[in-house]
């Protein structure tokens, strides 16, 4: 019975797919523009230059912790979560981001479990590398690979920026 059920189930799935029909591979409308995708290996000045072109807007530092850091692509995968901001030695600001643990739970849509902190670590991301996307933050100045390769940030190793301060961070439109 089970042996018969499998091809039947497969048939059902294929039937559904056939009925749904392959969407035409054209992009009639707003096509995903690869322009906003981070280029691998961007230098700090290049990053800052790009960030300046994203019309930096004032944002209260206290409004940033808790926001998800998204990868700039249509499925908007969560890369991590902002926990706070610290002052860099050069006077700039870094966003401290808690990266997903080894379990990759955010990819399964299980953010609450992933943010329990199991296997997670902190990294410092220059604010020039991120942009505000509504209530999210998007990683614009580096690839996810480079983000994951950042050294682990030790809490207390830099001065936290108080929540009442205002920073200017660039903005970005939705990815699709």
């Amino acid at each position: 019975m089970t042996a018969r059920a499998f091809p039947c189930a497969l048939g059902a799935v294929l039937l559904t797919l056939a009925l749904a029909g392959p969407g035409r591979a054209q992009t009639a409308g707003p096509s995903p523009t690869p322009d906003h995708m981070p280029k691998p290996g961007m230098s700090a000045p290049e990053m800052a230059d790009r960030a300046a072109g994203r019309f930096p807007q004032p944002v209260r530092v206290g409004d940033l912790p808790g926001r998800f850091l998204l990868q700039p692509e249509e499925s908007q995968p969560v890369l991590g979560r902002v926990t706070g901001l610290v002052r860099r030695d050069d006077g700039g600001a870094d966003a401290i981001v808690r990266l997903d643990g080894v379990l990759g739970l955010t990819r399964l849509g299980l953010q609450p479990l992933a943010w329990s902190g199991v296997g997670a670590r902190l990294v410092a991301v220059p604010v020039e590398a991120v942009a505000l996307l509504g209530e999210y933050v998007a990683l614009m100045g580096m690839t996810p690979e480079r983000l994951r390769a950042l050294p682990t940030f030790a809490p207390g190793s830099a001065t936290a920026i108080p929540p009442g301060e205002t920073l200017r961070i660039g903005i970005v439109r939705p990815f699709h």
């Binding site: 969407g23 903005i171 970005v172």
Partner: protein, 257 residues
Amino acid sequence: MRSPFRPLKVPDPSILDDHRPLVRQIERRGLLRGGLSLGALTMLTGCDVTDTTAVGRALRAVSDFNDGVQAALFDPRKLAPEYPASQVLKPPRFNAYYDVEDVKPVDGEAWRLELAGLISDKRPWTRRRIAELPEREIIIRHVCVEGWDYIGQWSGVPLRAFLERVGADLTAKYVAFKTADDYPSSIDMASALHPQTLLATRYAGQDLPDPYGYPLRLRTAVKLGFKNPKWITAIEVTNAYPGGYWESRGFNWFAGL
């Protein structure tokens, strides 16, 4: 009178009237053939507005029908919920048909708001004169056709007050907008006269920042986000369907909330 919306010479509208029965017939045939036949469903391919297949025409005929349904559902006295200032997202979400890097800021001093169509006083407006008009603030939910939303705090002159002030024909069907970023848009008169429809000049108490439409944009609580043109340069009151940027690419025109 010169209109920023149309060429100086337009075709005689009676041409369309002469062929209206034919147009109707074609639309109806398209609906029957494409929308209701099972055969059409085997060709579930895409269609944009340039798509002239029966399916594409039928889908757009239903979308036009939905415009009528939405107009009938629209209650001009029904107010959208308003929210406490603590829920306002600062800065708001940005969206356009191009990347934010390509935003071209508008010079507020040189900027003029032009008027056209069924309006008795068509003198252009400056920022200063608009700032003298009575202002209203609304904290409303912005709903994008894509599915996201946020709470925003907008202030500006109610469009109704502005249209009354310039002597617009409030019985006309449409209010159309031209913008500095070449994003034509239009809404129905009932929505234009809704108390939560503003010509917004400020967000969260501050002048609109450049990417959000400085110096003047539409912000209405009763339409999807894409019906809120930014960097408005001209307003026309008209009875001729004006369409819009996304509408000509297949999005529903009424797009009411």
